[in-house]
Amino acid sequence: MTRFDRLRLDGVTRRFGGADALTGLSMEIRRGEFIALLGPSGCGKSTALNCLAGLLPLTEGSIWRDDTRLDTLPPERRGFGMVFQNYALFPHMSVQKNVSFGLQMQGVARAEARRRTAEAIRLVHLEEHATKLPGQLSGGQQQRVAIARAVVIEPSLVLMDEPLSNLDAKLRLEMRTEIRRLHQTLGLTTVYVTHDQEEALSLADRLVVLRDGRVQQIGTPEQVHTRPANRHVADFMGYRNLLAGHADGARLTLDPSGVRVTGTPVEPVPDGTPAVAAIRPEDISLDGDLEAVVEVVEYQGREFTVEARTPGGLVLHLRTGQRLTPGDQIKAGFPPDRLLIFPSAPADPA
């Protein structure tokens, strides 16, 4: 098996017609890592995955497995496994045949193939469904078959393209744990594409956040969560309050209300230039001094999501355990270490 220490992407670029779907993706994947490619739809994350898989040729750049150039090889010779969003099981083959297909393609001896197939099916808990056709299985079971099929060939890299997006909420949580467990027990290296930030945060060792085909930030879940690199990443990572204003050191005068807030600049913002203050709904406190009137309240289980408006016309989103009703007066506060300040005329690479 072609184990590697490092897989290197070097300026991987893919254009469709004239449009750039992915621009200059450079990064290194270490053996055993779980990498999540994260971003809204159309950000280039699936393009990146397909380029890695060999299903899409690169327009520019190269991919290296240690010292071997990979991007000139067709997908069947890269030795990667892939799990597709819609499972892509072979509809005319039983679970067993689906799983053993890759082993047959590799020319693995029959007895060995049978043993490994059974092992893979046992790993995803489908022993009693082994002879069924994919059409007779539920969505979750089909997803397990797809995973078994991808890992049975002991791939040096497993690629997963939004594998959980077709499952319902409960199953999604179960399968998420299952995928992380398999990654650890089999010692896999995984690249996982998703648009669900929560999924990415809980699964990955490192996140790659993409927007408009460009990398916005590469970092650990904690880095991306608490210190998003720019306002777009912040927006995507759940900083629902993005308040426009003008910078003044670590303080910000909000438009158009004139309210002044204190926060943490993520990168230097020159005084007087337009800036954006970002804060998560759950980080806004109710013991501050900014008066606002509650307009909409949504019950969210343990908490309430509240939309409130200040007399100056500023709309705030907050989460609280306190039972509020529309018309209530609140006093919102912004903890300075949770309020991030970004330049709004972005120096971001986009």
Partner: protein, 277 residues
């Protein structure tokens, strides 16, 4: 809904028109069948006596054995070749977009849109020029002209409904191109291939114009032989012509029943998908 049908006068009109059509159809087919079994039938609703002698007579007089052999041979050759040639082309046209793709699609559509006579006459002239017409080979070649595009058109929806990610998944499992075709696509396409084969056979048995223009005396299919015996009316007994017509009819209906096992009736005329709801 059912009650509305009974009630409204418009519904009566519609069902009346349908009934008249079917009565006419039954009359057309029925009179051929009855005549082929009638001993003498002049001024009455039904023949005076019944017989099967016309069938034996038709069999001998019109040399039906060789004619049937030719018909079957032509059909098998045309269906086989057009599937072999048409399916790969349909695959590429359904899956890929490339410069000139739409133009090529139009090229394949044209032979179906043009009346066979318009291209049949120049085609027959060309085939005669190269010494191909007048034999089985000419008949087969001429019939391939509408059949290959027909296979392409009928196969396209079958190919489109195979999820392309299945092919990618096979590649990710390490399958080479020939494995993708042999192990994944071929098994999934078998229903479609059977359907288009049987449809091509039905169309070829019924194809009059092209066969008529290119067939020689030894390469007539049943429908052309039927035409010749009809246009030479008076020489043979009308009943034995009808007996031959019934044989043709039965052959067609058998094929039709066979075809309908694989496709729904609408697909016989066009590739418009019926509402699966």
């Amino acid at each position: 809904m059912r009650r509305a049908i009974v009630a409204s006068p418009a519904a009566w009109l519609v069902w009346g028109a349908v009934t008249i059509f079917f009565v006419g159809l039954a009359g057309v087919i029925g009179s051929v069948v009855v005549n082929s079994f009638g001993l003498r039938w002049f001024d009455s609703w039904l023949p005076e006596a019944w017989t099967t002698q016309w069938y034996g007579q038709a069999w001998d007089e019109f040399d039906l054995l060789p004619v049937l052999t030719v018909t079957i041979l032509v059909c098998l050759l045309v269906a086989g070749i057009s599937v072999l040639v048409g399916v790969p082309a349909a695959y590429v046209l359904a899956r890929r977009s490339f410069p000139g793709g739409r133009l090529l699609y139009l090229l394949f559509l044209l032979p179906i849109l043009m009346p066979p006579i318009t291209y049949g006459i120049p085609l027959a002239t060309v085939l005669y020029k190269y010494g191909l017409a007048g034999h089985l080979s000419g008949v087969v070649l001429a019939n391939l002209v509408p059949s290959i595009p027909f296979v392409i058109l009928t196969m396209t929806p079958f190919i489109e409904q195979i999820d392309p990610t299945v092919e990618r998944a096979a590649r990710m499992c390490g399958a080479r191109t020939r494995h993708v075709f042999g192990r994944i696509l071929a098994p999934l396409l078998i229903p479609g291939i059977l359907a288009s084969t049987i449809l091509v056979v039905v169309r070829t048995v019924g194809m009059f114009e092209l066969t008529f223009l290119t067939a020689g005396p030894d390469s007539q299919t049943l429908v052309v032989a039927l035409f010749y015996s009809m246009s030479a009316a008076g020489i043979r007994a009308q009943q034995s012509v009808d007996a031959m017509a019934v044989i043709y009819c039965v052959m067609m209906l058998v094929l039709l029943v066979l075809a309908l096992r694989f496709v729904n009736p609408t697909q016989l005329v066009a590739r418009v998908k019926e509402d699966p709801e």
